[in-house]
Symmetry: C2
Subunit: 216 residues, 2 copies
């Protein structure tokens, strides 16, 4: 069982909110949204890298170019990784209680850089297969130089927490009689129809992972 030790403040509103530390909640948010933000130190100042993450068991992974500053520096210093899914705007009866619905996971730690060639290859396969099951073996085979040019970083999902706001506005008791529309304007993200590029043959198989997907 993963120990989830530390919370963080990721409040989008000033309403009471529940921080959650159970592994299932954290994993579900990570699995629902590949886009993440990694904060890291660069020249003594915080910087942000938006990138794609994937989870395997109790670790989260992301990759980049071995030449990128964000990856060189991330090896030594602590980083903070966040995934936040923006679920809606919350319209209250007072400006103060307007808020956002969201699901957020924050993970702190010092990333491990994966150096073993075969392990990196397997991880890249896992990343591709996680998004597009069955695709790896249909692709032009990966080249050694591509693996060498790829940096993969990893954090354990230990110093991690989730924050979730859901549901209707939480107005002051005396405001509920106020005559103004109040509620939630939900936001949903979805995959749209796949767009084949001009070099894709008209009769090529269209894989099932292109259709009926959800995100967020």
């Amino acid at each position: 069982m993963t120990t989830l030790e530390t919370t963080t403040r990721t409040k989008l509103s000033r309403l009471p909110e529940r921080g959650r530390f159970d592994t299932d909640t954290i994993h579900a948010i990570l699995d629902a949204m590949p886009m993440c933000h990694v904060a890291y130190m660069r020249d003594g100042k915080p910087a942000i890298l938006p990138t794609l993450q994937w989870r395997e068991a109790d670790r989260v992974f992301w990759h980049g170019s071995t030449g990128a500053a964000s990856h060189l520096q991330g090896r030594e210093d602590e980083v903070c990784l966040n995934v936040c899914i923006f679920d809606g705007l919350v319209l209250a009866r007072s400006a103060f209680h307007h808020s956002a619905n969201y699901r957020s996971v924050t993970i702190f730690g010092t990333p491990e850089s994966i150096v073993d060639h075969d392990e990196k290859t397997q991880l890249m396969k896992n990343f591709v297969e996680g998004l597009f099951p069955g695709r790896w073996d249909r692709l032009r085979p990966v080249k050694d130089k591509e693996i060498r040019a790829t940096s993969i970083l990893s954090l354990p999902i230990t110093e991690a927490s989730a924050k979730i706001r859901t549901g209707p506005p939480a107005d002051d008791d005396e405001d509920y009689a106020f005559n103004v529309w109040a509620g939630v304007l939900p936001i949903a993200s979805a995959f749209e129809a796949p767009q084949a590029d001009q070099f894709t043959a008209a009769d090529v198989e269209r894989p099932g992972y292109l259709f009926g997907r959800s995100i967020g």
Copy 2:
């Protein structure tokens, strides 16, 4: 004319990408997506706050509770704010050239904390009106204690850059004949039907800003 001085590496892929520094591109991305991530220093380590931002002329603003660590510390130290809109997955013919389409803006700077009561009130009004035109005057009027409990931080959009990846995969020349589906799986975010809370009268006016909105 705003000077946009510094770039940052926000690469989601290892493809050649254009960094953009023109004000119109940066403003358009900020205006399209209120959700942002702010990286700041906490106890000597980077931390991330997902929150909502809004732009006024050549400044970006965000708010929170005056008691939140992220807001207390943000006043003194440099922060990094990023808005990233995730536009799609890019499926290439090799694993290496898989990528994401996105629009990203990164801003560096030391935030200014707005302290003047009337200025804070006006900024909160601007934030609400920017999202929901005409709503402010229909709300239960804001209380002085609510303004006092609200911290508003601001960054000039000067040390800022945009990164955009769009369009089909960029495969190696010799791979285009490879017989696998390649292209883009677009992602779109949208507002769904508004959900009134249980205290909203059935005959209350449903404001126009609840309908026909786009995001991202």
